[in-house]
Amino acid sequence: MTDPKPLSLRVPEPGCRPGGVPDFSDFVVPMAGETRRPEIDTAPEDMRDMAFSIVRVLNRHGEAMGPWAGRLTPDELREGLRHMITLRVFDERMTNAQRQGKTSFYMQHLGEEAVSCAFRMALEQGDMNFPTYRQAGLLIAGGYPLVDMMNQIYSNSADPLKGRQLPIMYSARDHGFFTISGNLGTQYIQAVGWAMASAIAGDTRIAAGWIGDGATAEGDFHSAMVFASTYNAPVILNIVNNQWAISTFQGMARGAAVTFAERGHGFGIPAIRVDGNDYLAVHAVASWAAERARSGHGPTLIEHVTYRAGGHSTSDDPAAYRSKNESAAWPLGDPIERLKAHLIAIGEWSDERHTQGTAEIADRVRSAQREAEAKGTLIDGSHPSPRSMFDDVYAEMPQHLVQQRQEGGY
C-alpha cells in the first residue's frame, strides 16, 4: 500500500437538525405481524434476525397481527390504556407544577408510555426492576399510589424518600422498583447482580434492567452484558432507544452498528427489537423474555424502539438541536392513539368512552395532586426536616454525624 490519503474523523450526525426536514425514510419499519416468534428456548444464534427486525403487532388500522398478538384480554388492554393515559396526564401536570415553581425538576415520558406500562404487566409480583428516570409507567401500572410519586416530586413532608432525592428519582421496593440513580448505567449491572442472587438462592423471581440508548455507551452496560452472559442470569435487559440522549442522537452511542439490539450478539445473548410504541408488542416481547428467564434460559436483550417526543427534562429545550417536526414525522406513531384505535377496532372502546375515561383519569390525577400539595410542595408547606438528613447515612448514626447534626443546630 503506497501513499495513503490523509485520514479523517467521522463524527456521526443525525439526519436532521433545526430548520431541516425530518426524514425517516432510511428507517425500516417491518409490517405488523411480519416478524416471527421463536420458541422461548431458542439459541441466540438461531434468532439473530430478531435484532434487525422490529416486532410489531398493531397495524395502521388498529388490528393485532401475527404470532406476537393475542395474549391480552380486552380488560387488560383497557387497563393498559388507562395506565398510559394516567402517565401522560401525570406528566403534564407535573411538568406544569415544575413550571409553577412547585418543584425543581421534572422528566416526562411523552411518546414512550407503552414501554414501561406494558412491560410491567409482563412481570410478576416479586420481580425487580432496575429503572432509569424514564420508566414511571412501571410504578403506575404496578399500582403505586400517584400521591406518593407526587410527594416525592414535591419533596414534601410525606415524601417517602424524605426530601433527599431529586424529583422523579423514585424508590419503591415493595413495587419491584429499585431506587433510581442519577448516574447513568450503574443500575444495569445491579439488575444482573439481583438476578444472580435469585439464581443463587434457587428462587424463581427475575430482574429487569433498564437503560437509555445514550447510556448504553457506559462501561456498566458492558459489565451487565458480560455478567449476564457468563452466569446465565435470569434478567431482562431493556434498552429504551428513544432516538435522543439530551441533544445527542442515538447514532453517537450506536456507532457503526445497525441496531442497539445487535450488541447482544457478541455475548450470546438473544436480542429482540420491538416497536416501543405498540403496547401489545412490548407486552408480548416482555412476556417472552420473562418466561425465558424464569425457565432458566437466561438473559434477553430487548431494544424498545420509540421516540422521546418531549424535552429531555424541564431543563431542556429540544428546539435547539432537532427539528420541531421530527416528532410528528416519527413513523411509529403515538402509543396511546394506537392502543385506543385497536380497542375501538375490536369493538371494546369508543371515542366517547375514551373522552370520559381520560376525564376520569384527569380527575384522579388532579385529586392526587391536591392531596400531595396539601402536604406541601418544594416551595410551600412543610418538608422533611434537616435533622432527618443525617439519618440513613448508616444504619446507626456514628458519633461524628451526631456531632455535625448538633453543630448544624438540627
Partner: protein, 337 residues
C-alpha cells in the same frame, strides 16, 4: 474589556485556545452541536469544525481515556464531564493513567489535557448534580486541581490550564456560572455584569496556576475559601463585621501555601470553608498544612465549615449548603476563642 458571565468567559477561553493552537480539541457529552448543557462550548463546532469540537458517547472513562490517547499523539484535549458527579467512571483513567503517565514513562509520554466539570451545589440538583469531589483529586500526585470563582479568573486559569504540560482538573462552580452567589438563597442574585470580576479582557491572557488571591484583606482571621464559598465568606465577614482576610485559593493543587501561611501568621486565626463533605475533604489538608506551618502563631483551633458528611440532599439543600449564617457562627466563635 467586555462584560462576560462565567460561561461566556469559559467559552471565550476555549475559542482563543482553539484559535491559537490547533492541537486543542474539545469534546464531551452534548458539547458539539448543542454546545454543552451549560453552553460553555456553544459555537465552537460551527467555528472550528466537527473534528475539533464534537459530541462524545456517554462514557466518561472513554472520554478521558480517548483524550489520554490523544495527548500521546500530541494533541491537547479539553474535555467536559457533564457534571462533576459523573466523573467517577473516569476515575481510573484519571488516577492510574493521566496522573502517572509522565512519571511512569520517565517523561516519554505526557498528558497535557484539561478535564472540565461543573461542581458544587446550590441549584437544587440533588445528590447527582451538586457534589464537590475536589479532594478526590488533590490526593493524586500528578494532577493539578483548579477552582475558579469568577469570569476573569475562569478565563485566565482555563487558558493557563490548557497551556499547562500536565493534566488539570478544572472544577467550575456551576452556581457561579451566571452570577456571584453568597448563599443568601432568599435574596435576588446579582448577575456578573454588575460585578467587577465580570469585566473580562477579550484578549488572550493567563492567570497562573498555583497562585491564590487575597480577595479581602483583613487582620482578625483568615478565611480559606474557593469557588462559591468565596462569596459566602465575603457576605459573612461583612455581616458579622469581622475584619477577615479572605483568600480565594483558586488552585488547590499545587497549593499556594505561602500566601495562606503569611495570612494566618498575621491573623493567628483560620477558618476553612468548603461545600464538600467534611471528613477527608480538602479542608483537612488545609488544616493540616496551616497547622504545620503556622502552629506557633495560632491563637485558636482551625475551624472547618463544610458540607455535612451525608449525601447531598434535595429538599434540605440550604441546611446542607454552608451558607453565611454557618460561617458567621464559626467566625464569631473563633474570634471569641
Amino acid at each position: 474589556m467586555a462584560r462576560m458571565t462565567m460561561i461566556e468567559a469559559i467559552r471565550n477561553a476555549h475559542d482563543l485556545a482553539m484559535g491559537t493552537d490547533d492541537r486543542v480539541v474539545v469534546f464531551g457529552e452534548d458539547v458539539g452541536y448543542f454546545g454543552g448543557v451549560f453552553r460553555c462550548t456553544a459555537g465552537l463546532q460551527k467555528k472550528y469544525g466537527a473534528s475539533r469540537c464534537f459530541d462524545a458517547p456517554i462514557n466518561e472513562s472513554g472520554i478521558v481515556g480517548a483524550a489520554i490517547g490523544m495527548t500521546a499523539y500530541g494533541l491537547k484535549p479539553v474535555v467536559e464531564i457533564q457534571f462533576a458527579d459523573y466523573v467517577y467512571p473516569a476515575y481510573d483513567q484519571i488516577v492510574s493513567e493521566a496522573a502517572r503517565m509522565r512519571h511512569r514513562s520517565a517523561g516519554q509520554f505526557t498528558c497535557p489535557m484539561v478535564i472540565r466539570m461543573p461542581t458544587g451545589g446550590g441549584i437544587f440538583g440533588g445528590q447527582t448534580h451538586s457534589q464537590s469531589p475536589e479532594a478526590l483529586f488533590t490526593h493524586v500526585a500528578g494532577l493539578k486541581v483548579v477552582v475558579p470563582s469568577n469570569p476573569r479568573d475562569a478565563k485566565g486559569l482555563l487558558l493557563a490550564a490548557i497551556e499547562d504540560p500536565d493534566p488539570v482538573i478544572f472544577l467550575e462552580p456551576k452556581r457561579l456560572y451566571n452570577g456571584p452567589f453568597n448563599g443568601h438563597h432568599d435574596q435576588p442574585v446579582a448577575p456578573w455584569k454588575s460585578h467587577p470580576l465580570g469585566e473580562v479582557d477579550e484578549d488572550y491572557y493567563t492567570v497562573p496556576l498555583g497562585k491564590a488571591e487575597i480577595r479581602r484583606a483583613g487582620s482578625a482571621v483568615t478565611v480559606l475559601a474557593y469557588g462559591t464559598m468565596v462569596y459566602v465568606a465575603e457576605a459573612a465577614a461583612e455581616e458579622a463585621q469581622i475584619d477577615a482576610e479572605i483568600i480565594d485559593l483558586r488552585t488547590l493543587l499545587p497549593l499556594d501555601i505561602d500566601t495562606v501561611a503569611a495570612s494566618v501568621k498575621k491573623t493567628g486565626r483560620c477558618v476553612i470553608i468548603h461545600e464538600a463533605t467534611r471528613t477527608s475533604g480538602f479542608g483537612a489538608e488545609l488544616s493540616a498544612q496551616v497547622q504545620e506551618s503556622c502552629f506557633y502563631h495560632l491563637e485558636v483551633p482551625i475551624t472547618r465549615v463544610t458540607g455535612w458528611d451525608t449525601p447531598y440532599p434535595h429538599a434540605q439543600e440550604w441546611a446542607y449548603f454552608p451558607g453565611p449564617e454557618r460561617l458567621k457562627r464559626a467566625l464569631l466563635a473563633v474570634m471569641e476563642g
